[in-house]
Symmetry: C2
Subunit: 344 residues, 2 copies
């Protein structure tokens, strides 16, 4: 599939508007900070690595704009960074990418000139390219683990549409499929926004991977029936002890896998790790609007409903068999091995 | 609330069309076998006890019609029973109610006359009235267990709208609320058809029970946060060992409760027990149409999707703390105690 989730060509940033998939594949141009923040908040672009890449390009483009108006300075630069960082709180790749661009800016800020902009561009492009390479490496390492699995379940979308490359969890699927034609993926629809139903099924189907869609709450009966060999998901943030924030619904899947003695894998690049925190309890969880849940049921806008709508949950590392990174497979004890692998 | 899910007055059977809730409260008249089967299949009436009651009245009305045309005989009577029994396979109350009416017919079939019709009517009304009483008794016994619980989670709808009375699981809530004003219910939306979002929230809200709606996959994070004191659900069929078939998504909730050491209760009348089978593995699971899942995502009708859409799952009795029946609280070992309680 020639999907390009994020395109940066001749100074223009374009993304697939993922809210329109699978019915319509439309590229939109992101040419302002506000458009970028709107696209991130509305999930036109989503997936931890993809959000980081878009944030990096946005800082570049916005800095360039200010520079041409002779308005780029530490204060205006920091404002861009702060606004982007605040747009979604859970995925750490966003803060990570903002920091990369910020470090690049301050290393070069003694001279605010074309060279600074050039360096910011280099930095943003390298974040994008490195993510593409990380995805491939994750696929490579993961496929070694997955070669004997036939039926795999995944939640949300950790694929091409979530990254600058072939995905994290789905990169493992794509690489495994090259050796194992029998692979079949159960796709959780992923309420409330349907990243599984709308994005993952679309991606897998377009890449000729056999798949079956199900409501999130149907996974249990597949485990009981012995129809699941392994679970694989992406991550929005991984604490130093391996606790993992990912799309709401990931944790119940991990508990089901554990209860049925089925391996549960997380696939994520180093940019998704937050070694500054020791436990998933410290990861901020974004609460999303009530209407995301209510609109599906045709419930009148005037009806008063209390709704609990967290965007993510935390999977305790106890439930995670291993974490697949671009540096290799992370096994337990995560605390010790994460520092060794990611910092080596 | 003055909701009457099923009304039988002056020979006319009317039900609330539950597919229109919560936006519209409309009664429809069920005056033929086909209308009844359509209403059951389309979930205009749903909930194991309610389906049983509607089936009983349908047999009465259809028999009366045939009798007046002088076409009532064993063959035509059996046809009605067979068609109703086949309309939904999982909830055993349907087959149970059909058998009750059938037994009544064959006890009286030596004389096919007004008396036979009168007796069928008595039998149907008594099924309805007994269910109402069972609901009250379940509420009474359950409230003794629930008096110290504040935050309770439920799945699907096992309330007024699922029974001939105040419900099974929700009857426990209503009774508990009389003593414990602090009670608060987390309501799983219950994909794909939203019985939680559309029916349970509506019922509880109209009865002034504080509640919060959530996507099914959000329950995990509530358990982690220590926000759930107990789980209560209804049942579509309970095997002799306590394994329970209930709405898809019940089993994952049970596994979550077990992992967090939170009690998990099933509330059901004796008519939901199937002592002819020893294990949940033998309960037939109804598979529902793909479109129930797909239609929510605005996916084009021409798109080819493989969809796994079971209406129910089986919760292994290992995960069930106790079963609340109209005869009292069933505790483990279920195998032994079920026979004692239900047959006593």
């Amino acid at each position: 599939m020639n999907l390009k989730t994020i395109e940066y060509t001749n100074g223009t940033l374009r993304i697939i508007d993922q809210t329109l998939l699978p019915n319509r594949l439309k590229l939109i141009t992101i040419d302002s900070l506000n458009k970028s923040i709107e696209a991130i908040k509305m999930l036109r672009v989503r997936g931890a690595p993809a959000i980081g890449i878009v944030a990096a390009y946005t800082i570049l483009l916005e800095s360039k704009k200010l520079f041409l108006k002779q308005k780029l300075n530490n204060r205006s630069f920091n404002q861009i960074c702060d606004k982007l960082r605040a747009s979604r709180p859970t995925a750490v790749n966003l803060a990570w990418a903002v920091k990369k661009l910020s470090d690049c800016y301050y290393e070069n800020s003694n001279l605010i000139n074309h060279m600074l902009i050039k360096n910011l561009e280099k930095c943003a492009i390298s974040i994008h390219q490195n993510d593409e390479q990380s995805c491939s490496a994750i696929g490579h390492y993961g496929a070694q683990l997955f070669k004997n699995y036939k039926n795999i379940i995944t939640h949300c979308n950790a694929g091409i549409l979530a990254t600058g490359g072939n995905g994290t969890a789905l990169s493992v699927i794509y690489e495994t499929a090259k050796q194992n034609q029998d692979i079949h993926v159960y796709v959780d629809e992923t309420r409330p926004l349907g990243q599984g139903a709308r994005l993952t099924y679309y991606e897998l189907n377009n890449n000729n991977i056999a798949c079956t869609l199900l409501t999130d709450n149907s996974a249990g009966s597949l485990f009981t029936a012995g129809k699941i060999d392994a679970v694989i998901v992406g991550a929005d943030r991984i604490a130093a002890n391996g606790d993992t924030a990912n799309k709401i619904g990931t944790f119940p899947l991990a508990v089901l896998a554990y209860a049925h003695d089925i391996p549960f894998y997380v696939a994520a690049p180093a940019s998704s790790f937050d070694l500054s925190i020791n436990s998933g309890k410290l990861i901020p969880i974004e609460m999303r609007p009530e209407k995301e849940v209510l609109s599906f049921w045709g419930i009148s806008k005037n009806a008063k409903y209390n709704v609990y709508n967290p965007a993510f949950d935390i999977t305790d590392s106890k439930y995670i068999t291993a974490i697949i990174t671009e540096y290799g497979i992370l096994e337990k004890p995560f605390n010790k091995n994460i520092t060794k692998l990611i910092h080596s």
